[in-house]
Subunit: 299 residues, 2 copies
């Protein structure tokens, strides 16, 4: 019987092995070129640079909850992580957040240059959709997955959130605007991760709705905790400097609500998230613990 840590570890290992195998340049024989190798090197650099892999884990676990097997969701989990990674590469570019470091390593454009990092992100987005299209899933599931992911990543989702983030810079914004921005910038892709698992696992409508509510809530709670940690966190555990939001004059859940009310909001969202998991019965223990760990995390 798995406990939380062992199951998370198993998902992580299996996902990382799957990622390695699917991005193995040998698999692209006959479609390779000098340009292919240079783009894939930059892509692999960022794709294998760790991270919690929360999105893939959500996809795998919802698939397991719906079908008893997590493996049908592996390709969709990889597609989601590819979109997430491309967005990080582009977000770090000088014209966006201009971040030289990502997860303790030099950002993609610091290593490969501005133009190559742009191309690596562009290539990753295409690769995400190719990964879905070439998966062993049925055509109906592939089409559902492409529809979901393109909506979550495009002008109705992540990209809109990034544009709002740019517009919000250096101006006071209220709670609703922060929520709206986060919901698009990170929430829609997190929600899509859970729903990808439902697609692969053949969920019914009720389970889709439960997965959606769960993911929306923990996605928002995650952002709130991020803002709280930027004030109360321990730099050595966080791996990045605290107080950066205050320095940049950014409006956050904490600047508007204060630490205590912000944490209460995050707790309430998590409680609601865990509540909708009822539909999965006792089997939902992993997601309950995941929600709680994200709420009380230190990094």
């Amino acid at each position: 019987m798995d406990n939380y840590d062992s199951l998370y570890k198993r998902y992580l290992e299996e996902f990382n092995d799957f990622l390695q195998s699917k991005t193995d340049i040998k698999k692209f024989q006959g479609r390779d070129s000098d340009g292919f190798y240079s783009v894939m090197e930059a892509i692999t650099y960022s794709l294998t640079n760790g991270g919690k892999r929360i999105r893939p884990v959500l996809a795998l676990e919802f698939c397991r909850l719906c079908s008893g097997d997590h493996t049908p969701a592996l390709d969709l989990a990889l597609a989601i992580e590819m979109i997430h990674t491309y967005s990080l590469i582009h977000d770090d570019l000088p014209c966006m957040d201009d971040d030289d470091m990502r997860r303790g390593k030099p950002s993609n454009h610091i290593v490969y240059g501005y133009a190559n990092a742009l191309l690596a992100g562009d290539g990753l987005q295409a690769l995400a959709f190719e990964t879905i299209a070439r998966s062993p899933l049925g055509d109906d599931k592939k089409v559902a997955a492409v529809t979901l992911l393109s909506d979550a990543a495009g002008p109705c989702g992540m990209v809109a959130g990034q544009a709002m983030d740019l517009e919000n810079e250096n101006k006071y914004i209220g709670l609703d605007e922060i929520k709206a921005t986060d919901t698009l910038k990170t929430g829609k892709l997190i929600t899509a991760s859970a729903l990808m698992g439902c697609i692969a696992g053949g969920a019914d409508r009720e389970k889709f709705l439960a997965a959606e509510t769960f993911a929306k809530n923990i996605g928002l709670a995650f952002q709130i905790v991020d803002d709280v940690l930027d004030v109360t966190g321990d730099e050595s555990k966080l791996g990045k400097p605290v107080g950066s939001d205050e320095i940049s004059g950014k409006s956050t859940y904490v600047t508007i609500l204060g630490v205590e009310s912000a944490m209460k909001l995050a707790r309430d969202l998590t409680t609601e998230a865990v509540g909708v998991l009822n539909i999965f019965g006792d089997d939902a223990w992993f997601l309950e613990e995941l929600a709680s760990k994200l709420l009380y995390r230190e990094n």
Copy 2:
């Protein structure tokens, strides 16, 4: 009975109307946001900025040749044009070609800024795949189209060609390398356009192969004529300065072969392209004339 000009005009008008209707912001009701409007404004700016629409026309005409009706290919033609347009937006960015002008108008980043142009390109790529996924085609055709387009646009296609273009800068390269770069950078998407029409039109394997050869050849011929026009062209007809390749010290078909041999190569490629159209019988007159017009164009 249509002649070449009237059929081209009809395709162009129908495609532009379809593009307008599919990118009408009213169609996105319920999925809109402040960020959506800002991204869509930048997207629409570039998407409606004219151009010959060769890729959509190829898709529509191959669909007509295969099925007697061009309309099933409209969504796929739009997806192709969205990928092409995103690549132009990103290509013009300061970190890439740093072009302030595109088709006689300020480039996307000149109008909307660097970050918003990056996001417009990113959003357009997602929208291309969403357009396929939401089309009225059958799931099998949608999956075939996503597979084809992601391959043509990603690290095995266009993006690889762009990376090779960066590597080729300021260094002498030979004919094979120019061909390899062009085949990836522009050839694969042009070929995908023809094949998209075959997918929508339900072509058999023989017709797919003919379409592939035709498009590969005219794609390469197109690039050769581009290089020739940069030397022999009339600036007033071309709408851009001639001699730019010589100034930038770029290796081109002309610097390697000279104008006459380069044009002979383009003619030979066009002759072979027209030859494989036999399979479509007399019905291929439009593509024959298209190939010839691209060869003898002045802009």
